[in-house]
């Protein structure tokens, strides 16, 4: 073979470089993936939320620096509860992203401003003031869907929210449902979020009898399967205490923030049925929670005024001490549970109705200005207020939201009253604490009800009291005096008034399901102006 000038040159150089670069790529991808996986800011959800936040900030920039409408201080403030934000309109347990967005924008436009949990706590304790139209926005469970869809909206509107964390759920490795600790840290670091406790691991069902029926962790005695018995009361208390203390300690050490608020999971308030094997369970838990936390959050259930008041010590001095004692927040804070189908307008009207109303107050029922049906059926509209007992009940009751701080007033109402008894309520603290003038045919009575315990203060036969399609009846309260009026004339007085409060109406009939009355107008005037007919 002839000599050839072209030499064989191997490819070993390229092989080496190839291996180096490919190896480096492999390392970058594997190490990068492991690193990025633990970097919540780089998850697609986070990136999407950032983009969405930028977009919303741009389109909502006109609302961002909206001047606060009122410079007055809030006397009480509402708390909203959500769980997750979803896309599915058929999810009845959760609000859709679209509705939430609409709600927050409506609140912002109306001048509402959210506060941090710390501000809220300080306000309730009387350590700081907050402007009117402040509210606390809370989410339960710390699911991913209660942060990622929410945060862009908070960012764009300058709002603040609070997430109640279930510690055990947050520690599920690689959870796709709950926020993991790194995400919670990032959430807190954003400055837009506070956290509270939602128990350590009390949010899921536990067996409560040998058949495996489940009970509520904080309300039922659980079944100890190894020993084939129900736990004892002291074991229940120990377990609850252990869980609540661990949750507080874990959250405080992990996130380095003080945890003073606890949202009760499941049973205690939401009507989820447990095994019902321990009637004192819920109150035992409440007592234990009270010893560990400053505030316990429950849902509103139509028995209370919508807004949360400062503690009895912190309520303004012009409220009589007994009123403050009854009305002031004592551990339990009630929250508005936002329903899945409320739009912005609906939520806004509920929050506006809950604001402290001023006297005189007149209502022709062209719309609901805050009447809350404690029990029975209430329908309002077309200038009519109809209160009716449901089939299995002897009475129905409603009270006016935002009237809690009234004192020294006369409450007159005109009603179509054709049967049973009708109550004009004053000094309403909640649905089970109030003073009442009870009108029966030919008789009137003054009652004082405190935490469901009713005492008749005084009663009198008054033949003029009769069923009528426009009965004009009323109740006046001032100082220690409770006074009943019929046709604007005083018919009975009591001097045992102990506290102030708002107004309400009740109907009662001995026969089940028939109690009813229609009220066509009400007027509430300061006492000095209420002596003369309008």
């Amino acid at each position: 073979m002839r000599a050839h000038p072209y030499v064989f040159r191997s490819t070993s150089y390229f092989k080496m470089v190839f291996l180096l670069i490919s190896g480096a790529l492999l390392a970058v991808i594997v190490i990068g993936s492991i690193y990025v996986e633990n970097e919540p800011a780089l998850s697609p959800r986070a990136i999407f939320a950032d983009v969405r936040g930028a977009y919303l900030s741009a389109i909502w920039s006109p609302y961002q620096n909206l001047a606060v409408a009122s410079t007055a201080n809030a006397k009480a403030i509402p708390v909203l509860t959500y769980h997750r934000l979803v896309r599915d309109v058929n999810d009845v347990a959760n609000v859709t992203v679209a509705n939430f967005q609409d709600q927050m924008l409506a609140l912002k436009k109306a001048g509402w401003q959210s506060v941090s949990l710390q501000e809220f706590e300080e306000f309730i304790e009387g350590r700081r003031t907050l402007p009117e139209k402040s509210f606390l926005l809370t989410f339960d469970d710390a699911a991913k869907d209660s942060f990622y869809p929410v945060d862009p909206i908070l960012k764009a509107l300058g709002f603040h929210a609070t997430n109640f964390v279930i510690v055990a759920s947050s520690e599920i490795p690689r959870s796709t449902y709950y926020l993991v600790p790194k995400e919670i840290e990032r959430m807190i670091a954003s400055g837009r979020w506070s956290i509270g406790s939602h128990s350590f691991d009390g949010h899921r069902p536990y067996p409560a009898d040998p058949a495996g029926q489940t009970g509520v962790y904080f309300a039922d005695r659980l079944w100890l399967s190894e020993q084939s018995r129900l736990e004892t009361v002291s074991e229940f208390s120990a377990r609850v205490r252990q869980d609540l203390a661990a949750a507080k300690k874990d959250l405080e050490t992990t996130y380095n923030v003080p945890i003073r608020s606890f949202a009760f999971p499941l049973g205690n308030e939401t009507g989820v049925n447990g095994a019902n094997n321990f009637p004192e369970g819920a109150s035992t838990t409440e007592a234990i929670a009270r010893s560990l936390y400053k505030f316990g959050f429950l849902q509103l259930n139509n028995q209370h005024f919508t807004f949360a008041f400062p503690t009895r010590e912190a309520l303004p001095g012009d409220i009589a001490s007994m009123t403050a004692h009854l009305l002031g927040t004592d551990f339990i804070v009630r929250r508005i549970h936002v329903d899945h189908d409320w739009d912005g307008e609906r939520l806004l009207s509920i929050m506006e109705n809950g604001r402290m109303k001023t006297l005189p107050y007149e209502d022709d029922f062209s719309e609901n200005r805050g009447w809350i049906p404690a029990w029975g059926a209430l329908s309002i509209g077309r200038n009519n207020f109809e209160l009716k007992a449901t089939d299995s009940h002897s009475s129905a009751s409603a009270f006016l939201d935002g009237s809690a701080l009234w004192d020294d007033y006369g409450f007159d109402l005109t009603a179509n009253w054709q049967s049973g008894h009708i109550f004009a309520l004053a000094d309403v603290i909640d649905s089970s604490t109030y003073d009442a003038c009870v009108y029966s045919r030919g008789e009137v009575r003054i009652q004082s009800t405190v935490r469901g315990q009713t005492r008749t203060l005084v009663a009198k036969k008054v033949p003029a009291i009769a069923y009528s399609d426009s009965a004009r009846l009323g109740i006046r309260v001032h100082g220690a005096t409770i006074e009943c009026t019929w046709d604007y004339a005083s018919v009975l007085e009591s001097y045992e008034r102990k506290h102030a409060g708002g107004v309400g109406v009740q109907v009662w009939n001995e026969t089940l399901g028939v109690a009813e009355a229609q009220v066509s107008s009400v007027i509430v005037r300061p006492y000095f102006a209420s002596n003369t007919p309008s």
Binding site: P5, F8, F18, S22, L26, V30, E37, P44
Partner: protein, 476 residues
């Protein structure tokens, strides 16, 4: 078809007349314009590298999500990591193609004596009346010494006017070697006959419908300066690329498979398939292989597809190097209907499968590096892809939910995006790049499964070029 004709005639004219659009115009540019263009190119490349970086980041994000999702399918996860890094390694290898090519051709000393070995074009033809005359004429137009150029055409008992067309060309070019068979023997025999009849040192195998740009013929022989080089595959593009969406997609695929995948193989000088449409071989090296090659059987039946792959593998087995050259432009015609296209894909997959088994017997000894960084991983990837695709689209959604499927698809498109960036880097003027995504899509949901079809029908041996559905069995 009118469009196709128009495009064909345009291509023909550009090739024959030599109106090279993207090479010629740089000759009359001023120095300043050239510098401006160079600067722009550097900027463009920097942009592409930035894009590549971002896509790599996206890949990392997608992979990390695949690992985080609790409802993820572990098998799919391992597979996607494996296949991603394999694809990326191909891109890395393709980066060194040019350097490797130049290194293979570097001489001891400055040595630029003309290198003009005798060449023989071999064109096996079957029922190719439309294209055969042009294919033959194009060989004679080569910018090469006529006395060193030989053209051999084998008519494998065509049933249309192919024979008449060749006879016409024989009258025009009396030196044309015309082998006229009365019984159909199959393409492999046609190729072998060409090797045997050839007098040239190099044999250039062409399909009856493909051609090499006559001006590039010096680049055709160039790699053979190195005595270790046994076979070279030339950059081929579809001449009918603009016929429809399918052909445009194939144009993108051809570019990927030549300029990136074959180039990557060429970096280590081991191209496993010197494509049948335009490749050259050393005749002396091939002749001893022919008998064995012709007798190739699989599962007891003669192998009638993958002829090019099969002969290339034998060249590699001998110890020669095989290369790819991007500096020769060859053109071929690709299927225009989905049916033809799928048939071709199945044939190729059969050829790939049979020859991969053949090559796996010697490849570790021949070059363990290539065997373990490319050959065996490729076999695993090709066989696993349809399995994993069905897992991702059927099993996983049922058992784990859709997140794995979603990340699988995102991963496929991210890798396709990276290929696209390299595509743009290597040939900015090639207009078919958007079809890379379409190809990735089609491959994911249709083509990869054709391997199953190929394996099931592997005992069905047809003659196999383009549009022949009713070809008789070869009488081998």
């Amino acid at each position: 078809m009118k469009v196709l004709e128009a495009v064909n005639s345009w291509r023909r004219n550009t090739v024959v007349v030599g109106n090279d659009l993207w090479h010629a115009d740089s000759n009359h540019l001023t120095q300043q314009q050239l510098e401006h263009r160079r600067a722009r190119n550097i900027g463009y490349q920097a942009l592409l590298f930035a894009a590549a970086f971002l896509v790599l980041l996206a890949i990392i994000l997608i992979k990390s999500q695949t690992t985080t999702a609790s409802d993820v399918d572990g098998v799919l996860l391992v597979y996607t990591f494996f296949v991603t890094i394999f694809q990326l390694s191909r891109l890395v290898a393709s980066l060194f193609y040019t350097a490797s090519y130049e290194r293979a051709l570097s001489a001891h000393e400055a040595h630029q004596e003309p290198f003009t070995p005798a060449i023989s074009f071999v064109i096996p033809a079957y029922n190719e009346e439309k294209e055969i005359a042009r294919t033959i004429r194009n060989c004679y137009l080569s910018h090469y010494p006529p006395e060193k150029t030989e053209v051999i055409v084998i008519n494998d008992a065509s049933t249309d006017g192919t024979r008449d067309e060749i006879v016409k060309m024989k009258q025009l070019y009396p030196q044309l070697v015309f082998v006229d068979w009365v019984t159909n023997k199959g393409k492999r025999h046609g190729m072998a006959e060409g090797f045997r009849r050839a007098s040239g040192e190099l044999v250039i195998q062409l399909d009856s419908d493909s051609r090499i740009d006559p001006r590039d013929i010096h680049n055709v022989v160039e790699p053979f300066r190195n005595p270790r080089v046994g076979a070279v595959s030339y950059h081929t593009e579809p001449v009918n690329a603009d016929a429809n969406i399918l052909t445009r997609m194939q144009a993108a695929y051809y570019f990927l498979s030549f300029r990136i995948l074959k180039a990557a193989e060429s970096t280590f000088r081991m191209v496993f398939c010197c494509s049948g449409c335009a490749s050259a071989y050393r005749r002396e090296m091939i002749l001893p292989l022919l008998d064995d090659w012709l007798k190739e059987t699989f599962l007891g039946l003669p192998v009638t597809w993958g002829d090019d792959r099969s002969i290339t593998n034998r060249v590699i087995q001998l110890g020669y190097e095989t290369m790819y050259s991007s500096s020769v432009r060859a053109y071929t015609i690709v299927p225009t209907t989905l049916k033809q296209f799928i048939k071709q894909q199945i044939r190729w997959k059969k050829g790939w499968f049979v020859n991969s088994i053949f090559a796996s017997k010697f490849i570790i000894k021949r070059d363990p590096f290539v065997a373990f960084t490319y050959f065996f991983p490729l076999m695993i990837v090709t066989i696993m892809t349809p399995v994993m695709a069905s897992r991702a689209f059927i099993y996983t959604p049922l058992v784990h939910g859709f997140s794995s499927t979603l990340y699988y698809m995102l991963g496929v498109f991210a890798v396709a995006a990276l290929f696209l960036i390299f595509y743009r880097l290597y040939a900015r003027e090639n207009p078919y790049y958007p079809y890379v995504f379409l190809w990735a899509c089609l491959n994911m949901i249709v083509l990869s499964y054709m391997l199953f079809v190929a394996l099931v029908t592997i005992q069905n041996r047809g003659w196999g070029t383009r549009e022949t559905h009713t070809k008789p069995q070869p009488t081998a």
